[in-house]
């Protein structure tokens, strides 16, 4: 380990240790209960506050805390205006899918989103494809989180990238493997609170270091007039606004990691609370951290390129603006965003393999699986997925932001119409869902690989449009869903 700032490391070590303690506590408390239901959805016991916080924390990634505010530094208030569309994310997913998914999950005894897709379209193959898509794209997102978090750690503490990866990367894999969904939800809640504290702390010291709000704003007005213009003198074209509404706004309702929260809450009173709390929190975080990114001009006098690019703006600001003894506290916020996303994805990816593939196969073939075997396999699978992503992150791919957005778009293309039309339209059928999920995802990946764009819009627009067209074609020509299934989904 290289020589670094030990005072910056101590709060992080304490924080990560606390996460492990929570997961051990949760595991002990859940002993003797239905393992699968407990491990993958917390036995449907989440209250409103925890539901809101875990949904927000899983949704808010390290990109929101590092790349995003770095872009705000470069582009200005147009970036904040674009990022604020994320205030729709929580009330949309919980308002549209929250109760329907909860009702269906209880009826079908479903534990995962794939369980519901399998029951709706009566297709094991489609369920297997859905599980594969989840694991594939989640792998990409998790890698981006590991890399982003470790780079931030290295830049701020002075320790190596690998040391950061080991410290927070391994710990998140361990506590998720031990505690399952309930531990993820509780640690997410803590992470979300820490993120908010981190934003307030950083904002305070940025204002202080920049000579106060009036002084910073006066400097920006003189030196960077483009930051006050919605199109930022051409740096923020309308295409970015449009695609961000799809990518991080409307289409996020179909992200499996968000929809699964609909299976996990206790009652509708909690759901209603979560819609409100979640909207307050996600707005506070988005506006707070991106506005701080702009105010960083009071601390950093050069352009983003002078500091090694937009990803280095927040780490450099933390180092320059904050007292050394508080640097450790400040980076817990962005790292919390990273680990809460990893843990949320990890548990869903693990459920896709164990519950959606293995247990279903065993049940179908009348194979007996003992509870202890399920327990060991679930924990091992979670640990193995985490370890694979950890190893990939050891040789970090470049363009983290793009990997993250690629994975987001892929998941949305695959699941948006399958879930929305599948759960709200009787005419949706297996052929439509199959064509939409497989065809849409392939087209999306192909256009990404070829760099093909229409009107310079992100490929999500092509993916989501093709996915819809294929769904409608398949549903029109395919065999209708049987009456028994429709009776369950549309009583």
């Amino acid at each position: 380990m290289t020589e670094g700032n030990l005072s910056a490391l101590a709060p992080l070590i304490f924080f990560m240790a606390f996460m492990v303690v929570i997961s051990i506590y949760v595991r002990n408390k859940q002993a003797g209960k239905n393992f699968v239901s407990n491990y993958f959805i917390g036995n449907r016991q989440l209250g409103g506050f925890v539901l809101a916080m875990t949904t927000v924390a899983t949704y808010s990634s390290v990109s929101s805390f590092v790349g995003g505010p770095g872009m705000a530094f470069q582009v200005g208030f147009g970036w904040v205006y674009m990022a604020v569309v994320q205030v729709t994310a929580i009330f949309l997913v919980l308002g549209i899918f929250g109760k329907r998914v909860a009702l269906l999950a209880r009826k079908l005894n479903a534990v995962t989103v794939v369980d519901i897709i399998r029951a709706r379209f009566q297709s094991d193959f489609l369920a297997a494809v859905a599980a594969f898509v989840i694991v594939l794209f989640f792998g990409g997102t998790m890698t981006a989180q590991f890399v982003g978090g470790a780079k931030l750690f290295a830049a701020v503490t002075g320790y190596s990238y690998e040391a950061g990866l080991i410290l927070f990367g391994l710990v998140v894999v361990i506590y998720t493997s031990i505690g399952g969904f309930r531990a993820v939800a509780l640690t997410d809640t803590l992470c979300a609170l820490i993120m908010m504290i981190g934003i307030v702390l950083l904002l305070h010291y940025v204002l202080k270091a920049g000579g106060g709000y009036d002084n910073i704003m006066a400097t920006i007005e003189i030196n960077h007039p483009e930051l006050f213009e919605p199109f930022s003198f051409g740096n923020m074209p309308w295409t970015i606004y449009f695609t961000q509404w799809l990518l991080v706004g409307i289409c996020t309702i179909a992200l499996p990691q968000s929809v699964v929260r609909g299976i996990s809450y206790k009652n509708t009173h909690g759901l209603h609370q979560a819609m409100l709390i979640g909207t307050v929190v996600v707005g506070f975080m988005n506006i707070g951290i991106n506005f701080t990114g702009i105010l960083a001009h009071g601390v950093l006098t050069g352009n983003a390129a002078d500091y090694g690019g937009v990803d280095n703006i927040i780490p450099t600001t933390i180092v320059k603006a904050m007292p050394p003894e508080l640097v450790g506290l400040a980076i817990i916020g962005p790292l919390a965003a990273s680990i809460s996303t990893i843990s949320g994805l990890l548990i869903v990816a693990s459920s896709a393999i164990i519950k959606d593939v293995y247990l279903h196969y065993a049940e179908k073939n009348s194979l007996s699986v003992t509870p202890s075997r399920v327990k060991i396999l679930s924990m091992t699978t979670t640990a193995v997925i985490g370890a694979i992503v950890f190893v990939i992150a050891l040789t970090p791919p470049s363009l983290i932001w793009l990997i993250n957005m690629f994975a987001f778009g892929g998941l949305e293309t695959a699941f948006f119409w399958t879930l929305l039309l599948g759960l709200f339209w009787k005419g949706a059928n297996k052929s439509g869902a199959m064509l939409s999920m497989i065809g849409g995802t392939i087209i999306y990946c192909a256009t990404q690989a070829a760099g093909f764009k229409i009107f310079n819009l992100h490929q999500i627009t092509i993916g989501i449009t093709c996915s819809l067209i294929l769904f409608l074609i398949g549903s029109y020509f395919g065999k209708k869903s049987d009456e028994a299934t429709l009776k369950i989904f549309f009583p």
Binding site: R44, F77, M217, E229, P230, W245, T268, H272, I287
Partner: protein, 91 residues
């Protein structure tokens, strides 16, 4: 809605209610998109500043956030109803 009447709702009534609530949410989204457009791009040409910030930047960010909170409150406190989800809520 009283707990007894909630418990006595049929599946069809619950799903119908949930469908209606999803439509309210979709309409709320449309309303918010319109507000976002008007508050940001719609006021970008005005030379008005609040706390050193152009009006569009205030309305298009904090304004949109406050409207989203208001919408969430209307949805969750007024338009959405408590229902019994089935199963044991206390298991």
């Amino acid at each position: 809605m009283k707990k007894n009447s909630r418990a006595s709702m049929s599946d069809a009534q619950k799903f119908s209610l949930v469908r209606r609530e999803a439509i309210y949410t979709g309409l709320a989204l449309c309303g918010l998109i319109i507000f976002w457009l008007v508050a940001g791009f719609g006021t970008a040409s005005l030379d008005v500043k609040i706390f050193h910030l152009p009006l569009w930047a205030v309305l298009g960010t904090v304004g949109v956030w406050l409207v989203a909170i208001f919408i969430s409150a209307i949805l969750s406190k007024i338009l959405f109803k408590d229902i019994d989800l089935g199963g044991d809520e206390n298991d």
